[in-house]
């Protein structure tokens, strides 16, 4: 049995990375002779979620409910997983490589005295079970042997494309309400501030996105880029370093830990193209990179490039667009 912890969005649907993880679990199941894939969900399972999981080939949907799961606590969720693990006799436990997924599985691995592999992108063999996972911020790949049972690992975001199963599963609802030990509830969320409205929506659906990275140079270095974005009616997308430095808000971030975009044209300016960022923009149909370094990964992976400082190139492009529009 393969058990997948499925996370929900605020509307109660499975998040994309959990669907990717279910897709990964199915490929593992196929390699292992068709062992069933079960899902674990904390809290309510709506009929919509149940049919979503059925489409991804899930056999049983284990719903964890009861007072111990009212607020997030990593240890409590792990104890719930232990209950389902014992009931379903699973040998593999997976989650998406999200903060929650990684946290809960690390608890489970620590409690079970087994290894955990984080951010797995592929598996190489079943006996021994060898996974490939991202290390050094995605710059290198580690082959890691997982020989303990249960086998516990998280799947990196965008490692596989989420795809429904050829044959849907029954997604039979199995409800569990296990007691949670007081010691597993000591570190739990005691209050949650409403999230800011999702401002990244336009980024995900935009036809054109103007990107900005470290090359912008400072918080005040975005004027020309914002003008280009305005001229093209495009939103601005930024790299992780830009939000880490506080130059631009987090909702503008493109990458593994930000939005995944798939525009007709992406124009990354002053972005070197770390794996982290590439994971969020590789679906763009065309990429026009503007960078001083002709060997930067963003340039070599792009369809088109201009070699130069964005602070010189972008104003020239803006002027050319204005000139042609005026003409």
């Amino acid at each position: 049995m393969i058990l997948v912890l499925v996370e929900k969005d605020l509307a109660g649907a499975a998040v994309e990375v959990s669907l990717e993880t279910l897709t990964f679990a199915r490929s593992l199941s196929d390699a292992g002779g068709g062992v069933p894939v079960d899902a674990v969900v904390v809290g309510d399972v709506s009929p919509a979620l149940q049919s979503q999981l059925a489409a991804y080939g899930v056999r049983d949907v284990h719903a964890l409910g009861g007072p111990g799961f009212a607020a997030f606590a990593g240890a409590a969720w792990a104890s719930g997983l232990e209950t389902v693990l014992a009931a379903s006799r699973s040998v593999v436990v997976m989650a998406a490589g999200t903060p929650r997924g990684g946290e809960v599985l690390a608890h489970l691995a620590a409690r079970s005295g087994v290894a955990m592999a984080a951010n797995v992108v592929a598996f190489d063999g079943l006996a021994p079970f060898v996974v490939r996972r991202q290390v050094v911020g995605g710059q290198a790949v580690e082959e890691m042997q997982l020989s303990t049972r249960p086998t516990v690992f998280t799947v990196a975001g965008h490692a596989v494309e989420a795809a429904p199963a050829a044959t849907p599963g029954p997604a039979t609802l199995v409800e569990h309400a296990p007691e949670v030990a007081e010691s597993d509830l000591v570190a739990r969320v005691v209050s949650t501030e409403e999230p800011a409205p999702d401002l990244s929506g336009s980024l995900k659906s935009a036809r054109v996105v103007v990107g900005a990275g470290r090359g912008a140079g400072s918080e005040g270095g975005f004027d020309d880029l914002l003008e280009l974005a305005d001229l093209l009616g495009a939103p601005l997308g930024v790299s992780r370093v830009v939000t880490s430095l506080g130059w631009r808000p987090h909702h503008e971030q493109v990458g593994q830990t930000g939005s995944r975009i798939s525009p007709d044209l992406y124009i990354p300016c002053g972005i070197s193209g770390a794996i982290q960022h590439w994971a969020g923009c590789s679906s763009a149909k065309a990429i026009l990179a503007i960078n001083t370094d002709p060997d930067a990964p963003m340039v070599t992976k792009a369809t088109h490039a201009v070699i130069g400082d964005l602070h010189e190139v972008v104003p020239a492009i803006n002027a050319e667009i204005r000139r042609r529009r005026a003409g």
């Binding site: 620590a110 710059q139 290198a140 570190a187 201009v306």
Partner: protein
């Protein structure tokens, strides 16, 4: 008064291109710059702030080879006042080994009359990216753990020290309130790590660093090898250099039909 232990790791600077050793077991140090990860710089800042706000002490701990002393000194230069260095090749240790070694330090310090109420770590190591040392440490010590927060404060509630920690979760900004002793792992973004001053650096040089050996034989990481993803052949069409390329860029925008408005 809170005594804080903050754990840091010497890691290759992954913002630049990396080269691996021939045996694929590590980043080749001859071609890399080394640093402390952003998460850990923030953890050090939070440790120093917490110690200062409560009249306590911030101790920095690292596990690494002799060169890792550089990161220990960096933490001392920004306000940590004591240091422990477990001298070992960190590449030979798995996350469970590291957690066990940190726990051994915490227990030995406690036995010597220096208990650490709060242990802070970075959320994940910038090189091995195991995402689990803090949580495993909590189970080793039998303490609660809060994972992946950006803000940490310690205060007395009904005469007992309590850590309030918060960070962004999937449902919004989440707050935890946990009695000490506890373990907390930190993500960058909540505080601005301070820069060391010249007097700070001078003072850091004079602080004695407790050197230790591994407390137990490590089980090791389950690593087979590291490799670099193959570089895909580039078929980029370079439109030009500098501002002179602007007309060619706008031609492309017209071709792609993204210029019309």
């Amino acid at each position: 008064m809170a005594s804080v232990l903050v754990c840091v790791k010497r890691v290759p600077d992954s913002s630049s291109e990396i080269v691996l050793t021939d045996d694929g077991q590590a980043v080749d140090g001859r071609f890399a710059g080394f640093t402390m990860s952003q998460h850990e710089q923030c953890a050090v800042e939070l440790a120093v702030q917490t110690a200062s706000a409560t009249g306590g002490e911030a101790t920095v701990l690292t596990l690494g080879d002799a060169d890792a002393l550089e990161q220990v000194r960096a933490a001392l230069a920004v306000g940590c006042t004591a240091a422990t260095h477990v001298v070992a090749d960190s590449q030979q240790l798995g996350p469970a080994d590291v957690a066990r070694e940190i726990a051994a330090v915490v227990r030995d310090h406690e036995a010597a009359g220096r208990p650490h109420d709060l242990v802070l770590l970075g959320h994940d190591a910038a090189d091995t990216g195991d995402f689990q040392v803090g949580i495993r440490l909590a189970y080793e010590l039998g303490r609660p753990v809060v994972n992946g927060v950006t803000r940490v404060t310690v205060e007395e509630v009904d005469g007992r020290p309590v850590v309030t920690a918060s960070g962004d979760g999937p449902d919004g900004h989440e707050t935890y309130r946990v009695p000490l002793p506890a373990v907390v792992t930190v993500l960058e973004g909540g505080v601005e790590p301070r820069y060391p001053t010249v007097p700070g650096r001078m003072k850091a040089k004079k602080i004695p660093v407790e050197e230790r050996e591994l407390a137990a034989a490590p089980a090791g990481p389950a690593r087979v090898r590291w490799s670099l993803p193959p570089a895909a052949p580039s078929d980029v069409h370079v439109l030009g250099k500098g501002p002179e390329a602007a007309p060619a860029v706008v031609d492309l925008l017209e071709q792609l039909g993204v210029l019309a408005r």
